[in-house]
């Protein structure tokens, strides 16, 4: 079984199309979407439609903070985000909004936990940005692998499962395309990066592929038509910085 984890799509159609094609070429047989499908980008409707199709075919999708915010009024978010959110609300029909509102906060199965943010308090949407945050998230679960998004920068954390020893959580910046074996006697937390708005200085779309049989996870970086995605954001009259940051990956 090969599971593709995709997080933080942010209504970026070009990036999502590229990642889905890449995952197919890698023989991914399951898709798990880790939240934040809308806001910032110019194609919320297409992205939600695509998500719906995959969920009908057995794909998993959980809720992100932006998916939640789109169903509410006047939440405190950073300013361009709020402008874009209001625009996004007007793009989505009632069916789309109902779909997003009904998304589960987490998905759990044998050895695997999927959340959008910190597993220790999923509704609080805390960021997992370092080993300390990761340790907190990892303490909240028994799962061998936790997959999450929210941070927009790929990272891989692990902690040994050892009795009687204060075990240290180790942080690692995965190298694109290089599989990392998820050693069995450890718990792993994969921050899979962002499909639609990468922020680690590399503008290529990011997603992770977990090969359950080999016990390995690989982060991929996928080139996509950034100019097209950015052009649509500008054409829609959304804040220009939302277009500019795609090219920089920041």
């Amino acid at each position: 079984m090969r599971i593709a984890f995709m997080a933080d799509l942010h209504a970026n159609r070009e990036a999502l199309e590229a990642c889905l094609a890449h995952a197919r070429s890698q023989s991914a047989d399951r898709l798990v979407f880790l939240g934040d499908y809308v806001n910032y980008g110019a194609d919320p409707e297409w992205v939600v439609e695509t998500l719906l199709e995959h969920v009908e075919k057995g794909g998993i999708a959980i809720r992100g903070n932006h998916d939640e915010a789109v169903g509410e009024r006047a939440r405190t978010m950073s300013s361009p985000a709020e402008v874009a959110l209001e625009w996004t609300r007007n793009q989505l029909g009632p069916a789309h909004r109902a779909f997003l509102a009904a998304l589960p906060i987490a998905h759990e199965e044998e050895g695997l936990l999927c959340v959008h943010a910190d597993a220790a308090a999923p509704f609080r949407w805390s960021y997992v940005t370092d080993a300390e945050d990761a340790a907190r998230s990892l303490r909240a679960t028994e799962s061998h692998l936790t997959a999450c998004g929210h941070v927009h920068k790929p990272a891989l954390y692990n902690v040994p499962v050892v009795a009687g020893r204060a075990a240290k959580t180790t942080a690692f910046r995965p190298v694109a395309g290089v599989p990392v074996p998820l050693l069995p006697r450890r718990r792993w937390l994969a921050v899979v990066g962002s499909v639609g708005q990468p922020r680690d200085g590399n503008p290529a779309a990011a997603y992770a592929l977990f090969d359950a049989a080999r016990g390995e996870i690989t982060t991929f970086r996928v080139a996509y038509d950034i100019e097209a995605a950015a052009g649509k954001i500008r054409a829609a009259g959304l804040p220009a910085m939302l277009a500019d940051r795609l090219a920089w990956g920041l």
Binding site: V161, V162, V175, V180, R185
Partner: protein, 488 residues
């Protein structure tokens, strides 16, 4: 996922079958793991099963080292490592199965020390070649010592074993992250490793330097220190120069060994391939003040280093592979027999451009002195000059305008009947990264002799740049009709 408890009573004992492997005799028991011979019907090569020692309260580094090896070994390939076969998955009893290398470890040579100098150099070149291969696969070994080096029966290649302390620059470094104390083997640890840096490929060159010193003098350069303070002594106290221990110690070997043992990694050979090159070409080793040293540095210098340790400052280091690729070995093959000075110049210009972009490159200028297939060549020409020496002088003359420091350029006249074969052999045995050579313009001669550059391009295991003098452009139709005419 179970915690690591009670695994000390491992059921992996003789006669048991574990995931299809029939467990045989205990080969070795060490502090961190035991080794057993195992067999499986579908695998012909002799196999070893490595089983970590996992007693409660044992050094946690034992299991972390084992996990590192489980991650790293499957990524490695080639003759310089044991072939990976299998590892335990979620099984309660962790193990790794790998090739049981037919051969002897260098540990068995300790009774014969000191060894003859040429033998030490030959062993060193083999180990350096193995390290180069490892570094190119993104791994620093960090525990190079006699017991971790096996000389393969038959091929004589050196293979490195035990990757429990190794660092892979594309995988999580559990060893470095989980423990504050640096791990290693005290006599062999590089200064930067003692300070906690696990990412420098040149740490392996330091350890090999310790081994070379030990094997050539019979004495370990830094003894076998116990405790952190004693271990750190090598950061400021230099070893007794080998020549003080053995009066007939060759200058070139002392030069190489003391360069390996430099405290600052930047003063060592930039890559294992360059170290292997020096060990294989002693006569070409550039001697510096190191080679003649008979005494340790005076106390004043030691005290200065002790209390003003420039080195202790952490400096950012490039990734392992980046270190290797910024210091390639470039071979410039020049045909001096042909009096085509424009081509000679063009070749030199191209070489200069390449070298400008890689300041760490090491250059070997090659010239093939053709031997006749049948008649026995006379070493002297008609005027009674030594042909080999004359060529060497010409070659050096050609290379002089490159104005490289002497320790970056060497000159070699190869005597052979087949120039392409000689160049290829040189490239393979010296692990050359890039060949730069000229193409003969004279097509009549090329038809007669065959294209040397063509054959090198086709067969070389590395990048080849062929330098050609620009020829006037022909019209496509004319060129085509000429080709037609030439077709029989």
């Amino acid at each position: 996922m179970g915690a690591l408890t009670g695994v000390g009573t491992s059921p992996i004992r003789k006669g048991a079958v574990v995931d299809g492997f029939l467990v045989g005799d205990l080969i070795h028991t060490g502090g961190m793991a035991s080794l057993r011979a195992v067999t499986r019907g579908d695998i012909r090569m002799p196999l070893l099963m490595k089983i970590p020692t996992l007693l409660e309260g044992e050094d946690p580094a034992a299991i972390v080292g084992f996990e590192m090896e489980q991650m790293i070994l499957p990524r490695l390939s080639g003759p310089h490592v044991p072939t990976f076969v299998a590892k335990s998955d979620v099984s309660v009893h962790p193990y790794i199965v790998m090739e049981r290398i037919a051969g002897k470890t260098l540990l068995l040579r300790l009774d014969d020390l000191p060894l003859p100098y040429e033998e030490v150099a030959a062993i060193g070149a083999k180990v350096a070649t193995a390290l180069d291969d490892l570094h190119r696969q993104h791994v620093v070994h960090l525990d190079v010592k006699p017991s971790n080096i096996v000389i393969r029966e038959g091929t004589g290649d050196a293979a490195l074993v035990d990757f429990g302390l190794a660092h892979h620059d594309q995988l999580p470094d559990l060893m470095g992250e989980e423990f504050r104390l640096p791990y290693g083997t005290a006599p062999y640890m590089a200064p930067e490793q003692i300070l906690g840096d696990r990412r420098d490929a040149r740490s392996d060159l330091f350890a090999l330097g310790v081994l070379l010193y030990f094997f050539s003098t019979g004495v370990r350069p830094f003894g076998d220190p116990k405790g952190k303070r004693a271990l750190r002594r090598r950061l400021y106290r230099d070893p007794v120069p080998p020549r003080k221990r053995r009066a007939d110690y060759p200058l070139w070997l002392q030069e190489i060994v003391l360069r390996c043992l430099e405290v600052d990694p930047a003063q060592r050979h930039p890559t294992a391939a360059q170290l292997a090159f020096d060990l294989s070409n002693p006569a070409e080793t550039k001697l510096t003040g190191r080679s003649e040293r008979l005494d340790k540095d005076p106390w004043s210098a030691v005290i200065r280093r002790r209390f003003h340790p420039d080195f202790a400052r952490a400096t950012p280091r490039p990734a392992i592979l980046a270190q290797v690729s910024t210091a390639p070995i470039v071979a410039l093959a020049i045909d001096l027999a042909e009096s085509e000075s424009p081509l000679h110049e063009a070749l030199r210009d191209t070489a200069a451009r390449i070298l400008e972009t890689v300041p760490g490159a090491r250059v070997a200028c090659l010239n093939v002195l053709r031997q006749h297939r049948i008649a026995l060549d006379k070493t002297l020409d008609e005027e009674g000059r030594n042909k080999h020496l004359t060529r060497l002088v010409e070659l050096k003359h050609w290379g002089r305008p490159l104005s490289l420091l002497e320790n970056r350029i060497t000159f070699h006249v190869l005597e052979a009947t087949d120039p392409a074969a000689a160049i290829l052999e040189y490239v393979r045995s010296n692990r050359v990264d890039h060949v730069v050579m000229g193409a003969r313009a004279n097509s009549a001669l090329r038809t007669l002799l065959g294209s040397v550059s063509g054959e090198v391009v086709a067969k070389a295991p590395c990048t080849v740049t062929v330098v050609r003098l620009p020829r006037p452009f022909e019209k496509a139709s004319e060129a085509a009709s000429e080709t037609e005419r030439n077709t029989p």
